[in-house]
């Protein structure tokens, strides 16, 4: 059964449940993913679907990219990704659509996508260190502090938390939930926030 889909983060809002609870939700647009290739255990070693999604301009895409779609006479899509499938519940062929109805309200899912890049960040933002005193002659405001011992071992331990690049990495929310599906607009409303900026590509997968 296909239990995952790629989608685009649209934005977040708030909706009401029947009992009056207001829920913070993020809308993810799962414009139908078009199957471009079916991978099976005998031939490829695993079951999966190669899918394309997102509108693309034909002239902009290079030939190898366009060729994937041309092979099956499909419209060119911007992104090509793969969805792993444990067991096929039906026969899939290139051109089939996978849409938001993969999920239903109440499904537990995990969401992965690239987080927003925050550039070179200090230890307070990056590792939740405490800051030093701002006044009373203190010169230690946002500095990392001691990073190790003295002549023994006269080096810094590996993995020491220090300033550096933050964000822009694959991030997974392991426990999220589908709150509602809006079929006619191909929107999936998931509970809470989702990594990345608006327009970010995320993978939703049932757990």
């Amino acid at each position: 059964m296909v239990d995952s889909i790629y989608g685009k983060k649209i934005g977040s809002t708030q909706i009401f449940k029947e009992n009056g609870d207001a829920v913070y939700v993020t809308a993810i647009e799962a414009e139908p993913c078009v199957v471009v290739q079916v991978k099976n255990k005998e031939k490829d070693g695993y079951n999966g679907l190669k899918v394309g999604f997102g509108s693309a301009r034909e002239k902009k895409e290079n030939k190898p990219h366009a060729g994937v779609f041309a092979k099956n006479k499909l419209d060119i899509k911007k992104y090509i990704r793969e969805i792993r499938v444990e067991q096929f519940d039906r026969e899939y062929k290139p051109g089939d659509l996978i849409d938001a109805t993969v999920f239903k309200a109440g499904d537990k899912i995990k969401i992965s996508g690239n987080s927003r890049g925050k550039g070179f960040a200090g230890v307070i933002k990056r590792h939740n260190f405490h800051r030093g005193r701002m006044s009373h002659g203190s010169h230690s405001h946002r500095i990392p502090g001691s990073v190790g011992m003295c002549a023994t071992p006269s080096r810094i331990h590996k993995g020491k938390k220090m300033p550096g690049r933050l964000g822009g990495k694959k991030t997974t929310l392991p426990h999220s939930e589908v709150v509602d599906i809006i079929e006619d607009q191909n929107l999936i409303l998931v509970k809470g926030s989702v990594p990345g900026a608006k327009g970010n590509i995320v993978l939703l997968k049932k757990i």
């Binding site: 649209i10 977040s12 009401f16 009056g20 607009q185």
Partner: protein, 113 residues
């Protein structure tokens, strides 16, 4: 209309009455108690309307027993708010009537149209 507005519009109420700050309203609230629903009424003066879209909320103030002022804020589109009924229309010159909190008795009245 962007896509988020379209999502919100599915949850917005369309049959809301027209009311503004200074009006006296009767709000029917659904209260769930151990698999039993009942309707409670809250009647008072609207002292503030704020927010827009799905987040629009209004505050109703009433004077309860022993001259204790009671205020409740409702999300206008929440299913908990079953109905809103305008009792009368007040004449006020500002949109936020927080000054009523400092007044009591005859001073706390609002002219009615």
């Amino acid at each position: 209309m962007n896509k988020i507005d379209k999502v919100e519009s599915r949850y917005l109420k369309t049959d809301l009455p027209d009311f503004k700050s200074g009006d006296k309203v009767r709000v029917k609230i659904k209260i769930s108690e151990e698999n039993k629903d009942r309707i409670q009424t809250f009647e008072g003066i609207v002292i503030s309307i704020k927010g827009s879209g799905i987040n629009k909320a209004f505050t109703v103030r009433k004077i309860s027993f022993n001259n204790v002022g009671v205020e409740r804020t409702f999300l206008i589109n929440s299913p908990v708010v079953q109905s809103i009924e305008r009792v009368n229309e007040g004449i006020v010159r500002r949109s936020k009537l927080y000054y009523l909190r400092d007044r009591a008795g005859k001073k706390a009245r609002i002219k009615v149209k």
